[in-house]
């Protein structure tokens, strides 16, 4: 698949080089990836992907504007109103501590999205850096990094995550949750980036760069990384969905974000005990929030993958 892809890229590059002014052509080897306009057009032609993007933007907008639209203080108690069903005063009802569920859900989006996003930043940075080193240098660096991924991948991720979160859980649960998700998730990305680097580094433009005396850092950063970027972006989108799901699972088990800080996961954990009394709204709404953001990121990731590389298209 890789060789086919690069053939397509090479061809498109050759076509582009002829049309470009000389200065552009000179640095065009760093722009082997498909044309940006074309990718965007393909992405925006995909209705499901656009719907995913819209939902993602909406969720982040809500998180940013949370204090403005939460209507109520998420920690404020409403005496005598334990686990009340949705009403005009409390759109999504109240929880077992009489707090407004809507306000907690809105503020919870800040926590859940920022934990997920930061964790993905950590994991993509680690994964890309280690994958790049392994792929470019090979030898013992490669062996060391790849054997480490083997070890980490031999433990089911959720198990490792639960163990690390439980053992390190401290007062600062937010930071621990982020770091634990970030540091247990990088191996897959490292392998992916390594594979990309391996298939790219024997191509002519890299040999050319090396011949004119480019340093390894320059080759990795200026030439290899931009060409692997498309794959990295798709991977990051998919991981955003998964990281939010992981945070929710951890917090649901009581091992992630700790109450009173609201996160969708710990709201589910709290709502669970009220299920027997029929308080479905405490379980349904936080779950729907997790479901929609995960769905949206997955649709977006799929759309991006198809747009960047139509050859891999599923449909």
């Amino acid at each position: 698949m890789d060789s086919k892809r690069t053939m397509v890229q090479k061809t498109s590059d050759r076509v582009r080089q002829q049309a470009l002014p000389p200065i552009e052509a000179e640095r065009s080897h760093a722009l082997l990836r498909p044309r940006r306009g074309l990718v965007l057009r393909r992405f925006f032609d995909n209705r499901l992907a656009v719907a995913g993007l819209v939902v993602v933007v909406l969720f982040y907008a809500v998180a940013v504007a949370a204090p403005l639209i939460s209507r109520d203080n998420p920690d404020a108690l409403n005496p005598g109103q334990r686990s009340q069903p949705p009403s005009v005063a409390h759109w999504l009802g109240t929880d077992r501590n009489t707090r407004d569920e809507y306000a907690r859900l809105i503020l919870g989006s800040r926590i859940s999205l920022s934990v997920g996003t930061t964790a993905v930043l950590i994991l993509m940075t680690c994964g890309t850096a280690l994958g790049a080193l392994a792929g470019y240098f090979g030898g013992w660096v490669d062996t060391l990094i790849m054997r480490s991924t083997d070890i980490l991948l031999a433990i089911p991720q959720i198990l490792l995550l639960i163990a690390a979160a439980a053992l390190f859980s401290q007062d600062n649960s937010l930071a621990v949750t982020i770091i634990v998700i970030g540091l247990t998730s990088w191996p897959g990305t490292a392998r992916l980036v390594r594979g990309q680097f391996l298939s790219l580094k024997d191509q002519e433009f890299i040999t050319a760069a090396r011949t004119i005396g480019a340093t390894p850092a320059q080759i990795i950063w200026r030439h290899l990384f931009p060409n692997a970027l498309a794959v990295i972006i798709v991977q990051a989108t998919v991981w955003l969905a998964y990281a939010i799901l992981l945070e929710a699972s951890l917090s649901y088990l009581g091992l992630g974000v700790q109450i009173p800080t609201p996160s969708w996961g710990n709201m589910l954990q709290q709502g669970q005990s009220e299920l027997v009394n029929g308080a479905w709204w405490l379980t349904v709404f936080p779950g729907l929030a997790i479901f929609f953001i995960t769905l949206a990121f997955n649709l977006m990731g799929d759309g991006l993958r198809d747009a960047l590389d139509p050859r891999l298209r599923h449909s």
Binding site: R147, I151, A154, L159, A163, L167, W280, T283
Partner: protein
């Protein structure tokens, strides 16, 4: 010895350093963490400090870490996984043996069901691309992949148990009930485990089938005058199933992870529940034992996949497999 045999032997030998690395990694992780297992199971305040010190000494926790690790590995090499700190000081291996069956049964049923649904559905989707069925399957698989499994479990418990009273909420008594009665306990956990797997499998099955349908050998088989059924099943399906081996293997590798949360929710007496309890109680030998055994399982599965690949698809050589793994 055949090259395949040599290959398997080489891969099996390579698992030994891997399992050592795994045990070292888990050991360091556990001991880096703040907190103390003795404090975790002697939770009453005002316990005599000398008693705590004695307990730590008995468990060997007062030794330097390298000594503790060397001792652990020494026992491990003799097949001794040690004794649990909690769980009435039962040997770890006994605990695992008592629990592993429940997990294998639940996960096996779920995985088999998921494959039985996903493979035909994927074929139908691919042969009727963009039909109503295909679109529904695509949407359904996106839903299945996005739905948090613990949330699905809660919703099922709410609806099927609390509201309708059809099924028991959790699996208490699962181990003793006779088989027909036991099925009731399986329904909800199996749905929860199988739904995302179906979603995952069906997408791969569909795209693998679409890829195969485009191949030249399919056209030539049709041109030879073979019936569409024969072309589809004898020529198409057999090739489309090859990538499913990888996907199934990847899913197998994550089994224990999924088991932890689901067994917790449904009180399923399996390995997932065991390791979760061990983690919360800081029962080091149990955590190490379960991760070591599950690691061995994952590695063996990955070897099996690579071997199966070569056996099933003669176009793939062992050398290719070796370079692809890196």
């Amino acid at each position: 010895m055949s090259s395949l045999g040599a290959y398997i032997l080489r891969r099996l030998l390579l698992t030994i350093p891997l399992l050592f690395g795994l045990s070292l990694f888990m050991f360091v992780l556990i001991h880096l963490a703040p907190g103390d297992p003795v404090r975790a199971f002697v939770s009453q305040p005002g316990v005599d400090p000398s008693f705590i010190a004695q307990a730590r000494h008995n468990l060997g926790l007062d030794q330097p870490l390298p000594v503790q690790y060397a001792r652990y590995v020494g026992h491990l090499l003799r097949g001794d996984f040690g004794t649990a700190y909690t769980f009435n000081s039962t040997p770890v291996l006994t605990l695992i043996k008592a629990r592993v069956g429940a997990t294998i049964l639940l996960q096996g049923v779920s995985l088999a069901l998921a494959l039985l649904i996903a493979i035909p559905l994927g074929i139908l989707s691919a042969t009727r691309q963009y039909s109503f069925l295909d679109n529904t399957t695509t949407i359904g698989s996106f839903i299945g992949l996005a739905i948090p499994n613990f949330w699905l479990a809660l919703l099922l418990q709410l609806y099927l148990s609390v509201k309708l009273g059809w099924l028991p909420t959790i699996s208490t008594g699962e181990a003793t009930a006779p088989l027909p009665g036991r099925i009731r306990y399986f329904v909800m956990p199996v749905i929860v485990l199988a739904f995302p797997s179906v979603a995952y499998f069906v997408r791969f099955m569909r795209s693998a089938m679409l890829e195969v349908l485009r191949q030249d050998y399919m056209t030539s088989a049709r041109a030879k005058g073979l019936s569409p059924r024969v072309v589809l099943y004898r020529h198409g399906l057999r090739n489309a199933l090859v990538p499913m081996i990888t996907v199934t293997g990847l899913q197998l590798a994550q089994i224990l992870g999924g088991a932890v949360i689901i067994e917790q929710i449904f009180a399923w007496p399996g390995l997932g529940q065991l390791v979760y309890q061990a983690i919360t109680q800081r029962d080091y030998p149990v955590i190490l034992g379960v991760t070591e055994i599950s690691g061995a399982f994952v590695i063996v599965v990955s070897i099996l996949i690579d071997v199966l690949y070569v056996v099933v698809d003669p176009r793939i050589s062992l050398a290719q497999q070796a370079t692809a793994r890196g």
